[in-house]
Amino acid sequence: MATKLKDQTAAASEREAVTVRFAGDSGDGMQLTGGQFTQSTALAGSDLATFPDFPAEIRAPQGTTFGVSAFQINFGSEAIETAGDAPDILIAMNPAALKTNLSALKPGGLIIADTGEFGPRNLKKAGYEENPLETDELKDYQLVAFDISAQTLESVKEFGLGNKEALRSKNMWTLGLVLWMFDRDRQPIRDWLHSKFAKNLDIALANEAALNAGHAYGETAEIAQGLGRYHVGAAEVEPGLYRTVTGGEALSLGLVAGASLVDLPLFFGSYPITPASPLLHTLSRLKEFGVTTFQAEDEIAAICASIGASYAGQLGVTSSSGPGIALKGEAMGLAVMTELPLVIVNSQRGGPSTGLPTKTEQSDLYQALYGRNGDAPMPVIAARSPVDAFDCAIEACRIAVEYMTPVMLLTDGYIGNAAEPWRVPAIESYERRPATHYAGEAVSPYKRDEKLARVWIKPGTPGLMHRIGGIEKNADTGNIDYAPANHQKMTDIRQAKINGVADTIPDQGFELGGPDDDLVVVGWGSTYGPIHQAVKRARRGGAKVAQVHIRHLWPMPKNLGPLLKDFDRILVPEMNTGQLKTVLRDQFLVDAKPLNKVSGQPFKIAEIGNAIEEALS
């Protein structure tokens, strides 16, 4: 991990990993700047992880602390799995950005601040009595403050833009400076600017000028005193073709691939909700892959239309976040009862109720496992990282079709928005398992195969007319049947079918360590990165600690119980108040101990590291 930032010479210094945070007003284009810097980092061959952190308000009042939008990137020449605990470098575009992000910065870290925005008005809005750039408030850090606003205006003067418009290029000026700091090629950014503003050449040229000016400012070392130049090498990675991918993109692509592997058209019914909407946006542009997207009138209609599409023979998928998933509850039960394939994606966010729409949390595990009326078992799987979302989506499609069941796929706001390099897999490496729609002799709609999956008969098939519905049906005939013994039988069958999914999922393995260790850290979902890093460091320090990360949360891998029972100490870090911990205790009667964080921010490696140390002491 990064050491303290001391380098102040203009000579390039070799570093293993650096964490940079861009922070500014939500109108300052910080997400865009971060995104482009990410692309540049990937092209330079570094491994990376990002953490976009933006306000819930679309345009919060300018200059306020709650309107601050930040983008953190951790990159390096060693494997990167988290967005970094504490930034080495903070770029603060205004006083509010400094105020809200300073506490995260490493002691001795570098602050780059735009003095042009540190006027009395903005200082007051951020709650500063005095200008922190002029007091000794920042004495524990390296401060480089200069008027980025004025520099930007100067650099785009020739394009004759209005003051407001000209200042929009501030983010590109800043990006130019940061690119210089890390010895990066500007050409990909120039190309991107020209394609983004293809219809407005002046804006493209102005942004390019600002980018170049920022870079040149860095180059002129005597002016930018204190600005070191850093070189982060390429990471050690497997050979292959790479791209960067966000969790949202990977999941969308995984759904398209998953539907293709089961040879079904994909129907995606959704209702806009943060942070799940990017899936709808991405899939609505992929119609040539047999994708139909439907923006429904509400969450219930979104899942119901998807169930209708599955009934008619396609693969229905619906997607939302916690509040929307709650609304879909009854319809999920209908899909359980009628045994139709369906994938339900939950991009979790902070809850309950509206909660923290743009912040991350993994507190919908109970909802996923138990959140329906009646005994309504449903397979649940969770992605651990942006890249992993691709495989998880394919797996969800497979289970849904193979077992004629709704499947819940959990991801979260962090995975959805974060980016990482992805070694693009070969589609042939995934098994094709084409779905079949029954069209043979007349049978009961509840005729089952050896996996207990019922026949899938599409309307339109001659001679096989039948009726399905949410009311309990006779196990043999498919007609309405309330008889006590029949309901017992059907409930048992539904349960046994879902339990049987465990027969076709891999055994639980160790990410690190093994059964001989003294402590096992068990996680699920997006806590993978910090847990992995924390366990790795602890092991380097000699600690006997293992890591287990669960993808299949229901049913769980068959060997998980015996595996956990081998340990006296089990630590379960979660971004909730202990949901997996409770499930593990319930399922396996093991003494799982919780480590909980619900601040809307991902775990820091150090937080888990400390808990490991404590658990072993």
């Binding site: 292959g240 073709l241 398209v256 239309a305 009934y311 070969a426 009726r467 519905g469």
Partner: protein, 345 residues
């Protein structure tokens, strides 16, 4: 597979072997009979026909139709139907719902189905009461309806199904009475022939909880004066041609006029024009005893249907694009790593 020799199916061929379980005397029996007869008369193909319902007495309907059927959850039949039709536009989709299912818990879906103009038939059985849950007042119950949940009478204004549908953008509106077996098949055939969402309100008598609530206009003895069966292009006459519907151009309101010696023109009786949306709104609002109740096809004005437009756009958007999954996932800025260790200074 079935022997595919085309044989003309009879109404009875559209009945399942399931025992029908509505209360004896329920208006639903008559509607079921009318629908099965319509299916036979239209020459409907059972395997291409799907009945989709929500929850309520009426929503048991699919179990009694020898077609494909989906008894879904309360109020959501329009949403399920939307998915079915988008996935397979060739299916002939019928939605069976009630006043509670379609206008209360499912009112939102109903509105959006109608405005989107999904090609399907909506049969809304209006009995102005919650039957299945044992008699509570419904969103169409008249003010003052006494029920287990409103022992002192309901106080909220009722919804008018056809006005709701028209306001939502429905392009086909019709009304019928459960017992009007003579007219029902023709109205249902018209609804079926209409491309887009067809909304049919069926006045259905709940013999147990709301008996005779429509008696003021369904009573056969008085029906000549209390019912007007609309026909496109025909003068709007009732009471055996002795009365007609005219428009007061001063107040822009309808009025009942007397027709002498069959000279309806002289009396100012208007000719029914199904395309006239403003008139449709006025006709829907007619109430006994001041007016007869408007029945038959009130409004029709076809437009492209939702599922067809979606399909067309899907096809258009796909034109000239290569369907290559491998290429899709490799899209964007990529880079090649050739050897395992690639560290530079």
């Amino acid at each position: 597979m079935n022997d595919m020799t085309p044989t003309k199916l009879k109404a009875a061929d559209f009945a399942t072997d399931q025992e029908v379980r509505w209360c004896p005397g329920c208006g639903d029996y008559a509607i079921l009979k009318g629908v099965q007869r319509t299916m036979a008369e239209m020459g409907a193909t059972p395997e291409n026909t799907v009945f989709i319902s929500g929850i309520g007495c009426s929503s048991r309907f699919p179990y009694y139709m020898e077609t494909y059927g989906f008894h879904t959850i309360h109020g959501r039949a329009p949403a399920i139907a939307t998915g079915v039709k988008l996935a397979n536009p060739d299916l002939d989709v019928w939605i069976v719902t009630g006043d509670g299912d379609g206008l209360s818990i499912g009112g939102n879906h109903m509105m959006h189905l109608l405005r989107r103009n999904l090609d399907c038939q909506v049969l809304l059985f209006n009995n102005e009461i919650y039957g299945l849950t044992k008699g509570q007042y419904s969103p169409t119950s008249r003010v003052g309806t006494r029920s287990p949940s409103t022992p002192y009478g309901s106080v909220d204004a009722p919804a008018e199904p056809c006005a709701f549908a028209l306001g939502s953008g429905a392009r086909f509106l019709a009304r019928c009475i459960d017992t009007a077996q003579k007219q029902m098949p023709d109205i249902l055939k018209r609804a079926h022939a209409h491309k887009g969402a067809s909304f049919v309100e069926l006045y259905q008598n709940c013999i147990v909880y709301n008996d005779d609530v429509f008696g003021a206009f369904t009573d056969k003895k008085e029906s000549a004066h209390t019912q007007i069966w609309l026909q496109h292009g025909e003068p709007m006459l009732f009471a055996n041609g002795e009365k007609g519907i005219a428009l007061d151009t001063e107040t822009l309101a309808l009025k009942v006029v007397d027709v002498k010696d069959g000279d309806w023109q002289a009396a100012g009786v208007r000719v029914h024009d199904e395309r006239n949306k403003v008139m449709a709104g006025l006709l829907i609002a007619m109430r006994v005893p001041d007016f007869p109740v408007a029945l038959g096809v009130i409004y029709e004005n076809p437009a492209p249907s939702f599922e067809q437009d979606v399909r067309t756009q899907n096809v258009e958007a796909s034109k000239g694009k290569v369907v290559d999954l491998e290429a899709l996932i490799k899209k964007g800025q990529t880079w090649e790593v050739n050897q395992k260790k690639l560290r530079e200074v």
